[in-house]
C-alpha cells in the first residue's frame, strides 16, 4: 500500500496546475485535465452500477441473484 501511495503521489506531482488562475484559450485544456478526476479517483465506476434501488430489486428477483447495494446521503453516483 505504501508503494502504491508513493507512485500515486509522484503521478500527482506530474499533473501540475497551470500558473494562472484565470482560465483562457491557452490554459483551459490544462486546467480541465487538472480538475477532472483521474481513473484512480473514479474507480468506483468500474463496478457497473444501476442507479435506482427498486428496479434493481425487481431485476434480482427475475434473475434469482443477490443484490449489492451502495447507499449514501446524496446519490453515490453524483450529488445532483
Amino acid at each position: 500500500m505504501r508503494l502504491k501511495n508513493i507512485v500515486l503521489h509522484l503521478l500527482g506531482l506530474l499533473l501540475a496546475a497551470p500558473l494562472s488562475l484565470a482560465p483562457d484559450a491557452g490554459n483551459f485544456r490544462e486546467w480541465h485535465e487538472f480538475i477532472r478526476p483521474s481513473a484512480q479517483e473514479t474507480a468506483y465506476t468500474q463496478v457497473g452500477w444501476r442507479n435506482k434501488f427498486w428496479p434493481a430489486v425487481l431485476e434480482a428477483k427475475r434473475l434469482g441473484r443477490p443484490i449489492l447495494f451502495w447507499t449514501m446521503n446524496g446519490h453515490p453516483l453524483g450529488c445532483t
Binding site: H9, L11, I35, G48, P66, L68, T71, G78, C79
Partner: protein
C-alpha cells in the same frame, strides 16, 4: 474507497449492483418515515435491516452503507458507513457469497447470469437531452501548494469513516432539455441565455468539493456575464467559445470565478459533440455540511464541466 480494490470489483460481478440515495428510501425523521411507510422499496430495505446484526445496522441514524441481500431481502451481509475499509469489505463480500450459495440452493433461485451494465448518470438527469458532468477540485493556492493535489499519501494512512472528506474533488450533474440554447444564433458575440446560465450558476457553481452545499438563492447572483461566439463553421460543425465571470454572494459565502469554455455543435444532429468549460475563482465562507469550518478562504476552487455521453 473500497471500489478501487480489484478483488472487490471482481466479487461485485456476482451481484445485481445498485447505487442509490438513502434518505428518500429510509428517512431518519418521523415525518418523512411516515411518507414512505407503504413504499415497497422502503419496506423491502427495512425488512432487510431488521434481519441484520445490530452492530452493523445503524437503527437510530443514517442507513448509509454497503449491503448484500438475497432477491427477497434475505440478509447476506452488510454494514453502515463502510465505504473506506477495503480489507473488511472483501471479507464481507466473500461471506455474503458463501451465504448466497446456501440460500440459492435452499430456495431454488434461478441464479441466472447478471447482465453487464455501464455506470451511468444519476436518475435525476439521466432523461435529459444534454447531460453535463461537473467536477470540482481545490486548486493550488500558490506556487508549491499541494492542498488541491490529486493524491496525498497522508490522506491514505488511515481508513476511517471521514476519510472521504480529504479527497479534494467531487462530482455533480445537471441536465438541459434544449441544448440549442447554448448555440449562438449569429456570428456575433451574444450572452448565454439568462435562464440557462442562472440555473447552471445557482445549482453547479457551489462549493461541495469536500461536503454538501445548497444551491445559491436567486438573490445571490450579484454578477453573471457569460458570452458565446462562433469561432469556426466546418462541415456542419460549429466551434463555440464561451467566456465571462460570475459573482455569487450569500452572506459570508461567495464564489467569484472567471469562466472559459469551448464546445462543438453538430448542426445536422442538433447536438453537441463536445462541451468543455473551466470555472476558477476564489470562494469564501462555510455551509453547514461542506467541511469548510476550518478553511473559510478566500481560497481558489476550480470547476470542470464536460459533456456526458451515455454510450
Amino acid at each position: 474507497m473500497v471500489w478501487s480494490d480489484l478483488q472487490i470489483q471482481k466479487l461485485a460481478k456476482e451481484f445485481v449492483t445498485v447505487a442509490d440515495e438513502v434518505y428518500m428510501l429510509y428517512p431518519e425523521d418521523a415525518g418523512n418515515l411516515n411518507r414512505v411507510k407503504n413504499d415497497p422499496a422502503h419496506l423491502f430495505f427495512k425488512k432487510f435491516g431488521e434481519a441484520m446484526p445490530p452492530r452493523d445496522w445503524n437503527a437510530r441514524g443514517t442507513k448509509q452503507g454497503i449491503y448484500m441481500m438475497g432477491p427477497n431481502g434475505e440478509y447476506l451481509e452488510g454494514k453502515f458507513a463502510a465505504a473506506s475499509n477495503a480489507p473488511e469489505m472483501r471479507v464481507r463480500l466473500q461471506r455474503a457469497l458463501t451465504r448466497w450459495e446456501s440460500l440459492r440452493t435452499e430456495k431454488s433461485y434461478a441464479n441466472l447470469p447478471v447482465p453487464v451494465v455501464k455506470t451511468g448518470a444519476p436518475p435525476e438527469v439521466s432523461g435529459a437531452t444534454m447531460i453535463l458532468k461537473v467536477n470540482l477540485r481545490d486548486v493550488p493556492r500558490g506556487p508549491g501548494d499541494r492542498s488541491g493535489a490529486r493524491f496525498s499519501p497522508a490522506d491514505h494512512t488511515t481508513e476511517s469513516w471521514p476519510d472521504f472528506t480529504k479527497w479534494a474533488w467531487n462530482e455533480n450533474w445537471i441536465g438541459f432539455d434544449d441544448p440549442a440554447r447554448w448555440v449562438p444564433r449569429s456570428s456575433s458575440s451574444e450572452p448565454v441565455p439568462a435562464a440557462e446560465m442562472q440555473r447552471l450558476a445557482r445549482e453547479m457553481l457551489v462549493d461541495n468539493v469536500r461536503g454538501q452545499a445548497p444551491g445559491w438563492q436567486p438573490s445571490a447572483i450579484k454578477g453573471l456575464d457569460v458570452t458565446m461566439r462562433r469561432t469556426s463553421v466546418k462541415g456542419g460543425l460549429v466551434t463555440i467559445v464561451y467566456a465571462g465571470s460570475a459573482n455569487l454572494t450569500q452572506g459570508a459565502n461567495s464564489f467569484a470565478p472567471k469562466i472559459y469554455g469551448e464546445a462543438v455543435w453538430n448542426s445536422s444532429a442538433g447536438a453537441f459533440t463536445s462541451f468543455d468549460w473551466v470555472v476558477i475563482g476564489p470562494r469564501t465562507g462555510a455551509w453547514q455540511f461542506n467541511q469548510r469550518e476550518q478553511d473559510r478562504g478566500p481560497a481558489p476552487m476550480g470547476i470542470a464541466i464536460s459533456l456526458f455521453k451515455p454510450n
